[in-house]
Symmetry: C2
Subunit: 350 residues, 2 copies
């Protein structure tokens, strides 16, 4: 299939407005440059090496991936500084991690002792060196540990021949994390353990990153496309949202209801205010329900509504999960398709 303009595309298709994406890449790099911190894009939002390359060309120091399998794809594509901010668990996975560490500068995070033991064993076996950061718990209450345990983990990492303690990681790095971060840094300093990197993260947290001068780098993903979720959290505005999902109306038998060919398999099932996406042509329309291949839209608050065969463009609630649903997405400039990207690291869960 050849595609020249968006009119040639099947629906549902994911479009990336290249002008907006380029502006987002440039703006985030500028923000980090002004703060004097390194910028490390998280590739989970796009999963496409060619876009990560643009982020590095703009000044990023390396990338973050969430899975070993994602890191393998990006290493194969030539990326040589990869961080995986995740506890890597299991014999096969730690072995693959160690093999990867022989090829690229690799850093992971840990929040517990068994994970350290697992990766230390695999690194020893492979004669590899893996960089390790300790994760501090945040308001998110997900992974991470408290300052005292962080010190113990840092000591343990420093005692392993094939591991290299590099610093601290936190997600998201909202300003509220600073007291705990400062305390941990004091404990490490008192113990004589050097800290190279203090890595913060989160597309929203970047807005508060000037309040945490201890940060040396930021990992951010969503900013490259932004989405309705980001707009609803006041991280950005609609005019910065680079991703839309182009859908067709397939049924319109009711006065105010229309069915689209984009459902949870195309626009995902996360919501803002009970809606599954924001239709750019009809801001007052509500996508109130999705099945896998159907989007249900209520146009009762709109003056007009589309008919069967008409096209609409949806800004999704969460771009990262949408990218993971599509095999291929399209970079568009003024209606012309400039880029056809295979989503190379799509669906990689290992």
């Amino acid at each position: 299939m050849t595609f020249q303009t968006v009119d040639d595309l099947e629906t549902p298709s994911v479009l990336i407005d290249l002008i907006k994406m380029e502006r987002n890449i440039s703006a985030m790099q500028t923000r980090c440059d002004e703060l004097g911190i390194q910028f490390r894009p998280h590739i989970k939002t796009h999963k496409i090496p060619a876009i990560a390359r643009r982020q590095l060309d703009a000044g990023a120091v390396g990338i973050a991936c969430q899975k070993v399998s994602e890191a393998e794809v990006f290493a194969d594509a030539g990326f040589d500084d990869i961080q995986i901010p995740y506890n890597i668990v299991g014999k096969s996975k730690t072995r693959r991690l160690a093999q990867l560490a022989r090829r690229v500068k690799l850093t992971v995070t840990v929040d517990n002792l068994p994970v350290i033991e697992g990766i230390a064993g695999a690194a020893r076996e492979a004669d590899a060196t893996i960089g390790v950061m300790v994760e501090l718990v945040s308001l998110n209450q997900r992974t991470g540990t408290d300052p005292e345990d962080a010190l113990e983990l840092a000591r343990r990492i420093s005692a392993c021949d094939n591991l290299r303690f590099t610093g601290l990681m936190v997600y998201p790095s909202d300003a509220a994390i600073r007291p705990s971060l400062q305390k941990t840094l004091r404990l490490l300093a008192d113990a004589g353990i050097a800290v190279e990197t203090v890595s913060g993260g989160g597309s929203g947290a970047i807005l508060e990153s000037h309040l945490i001068p201890e940060l040396t780098e930021m990992r951010v993903g969503t900013y490259v496309f932004w989405d309705w979720g980001s707009v609803s959290h006041k991280m950005t505005t609609f005019d910065r949202c680079a991703m839309t999902v182009r859908c067709s109306v397939v049924s319109a038998n009711e006065a105010h209801r229309v069915i689209l060919d984009g459902g949870s398999k195309s626009i995902h099932s996360e919501t803002v205010d009970g809606c599954f996406g924001y239709i750019t042509e009809y801001p007052a329309a509500r996508i109130y329900k999705v099945n896998e291949e159907h989007g249900y839209v209520d146009f009762s608050a709109c003056e007009t509504m589309p008919g069967v065969g008409d096209i609409v463009h949806i800004i999704p609630v969460h771009t990262c999960v949408v990218t993971n649903l599509h095999n291929r997405i399209f970079g568009v400039r003024g209606g012309t398709i400039e880029e056809v990207w295979d989503v190379a690291a799509r669906g990689l869960v290992w």
Copy 2:
């Protein structure tokens, strides 16, 4: 990678208990045989030709797909009776549909006139014949039309040289649909329009299918694996649920909270009673939140809880959407991996 037992698998991995799947396939075919109706499995649940082949070997007459792209994959795999219960819209898609109709016995559904005109034009251009059913609206309030409009659409289809009116479709075909179905059949009979097929659908609706003797076939998908959603709707029981997602504990720093390596990218984000999956080893545990690569589990109602590196198995809320997230799933019998299936029609949205 070679896999012999489940212990060789990375996590998160999707396991299919072959004994349960085989029992589900056999039980559904028996149910339809006893009702004297044809059975047409919907492949959206597994998206794997080898499993559809087992369903046909058990007695199914053909398959249902939801997208033209899915139908293309299954036609390439040798399936020759394919129904797409969907309004196919757009020039490129109707062209592909017409090409497919030259290779296999193909039937679609419509609920409006523009869709009929689109597929009729494409069929004429390709010198193909496409079977067309009219969809009746159900309690679902999604696609479909009322009896009077159904008659008009049937007349229009019958008047197109390259379309063949084959009957009526409804989803889901709960008993409540019968009055509308009977009325439409009367209108068609009075107009002298023959009806070959009355196609019902829905894994839950099969329980009520004996109450609608007008049905000539059932399209059912989820039954092949079942899931927690089906159990919660009393369509089946946990011991029939063939799919589990094998996950590892990656963090366990709190008294009652554990983090798994399966999140919305592995077990999806649909819920039952606010939970994202049912952990077979810990029935009282609650997966209360998911991020893409993290599952948050509350074990406060459990007497014991797993530690870092331990394995748990999750019955997902909705199997169809889970299959779509994985590139490969595994057929298991007694801990031994008998089948490694690529999810051939995964992520096909066109």
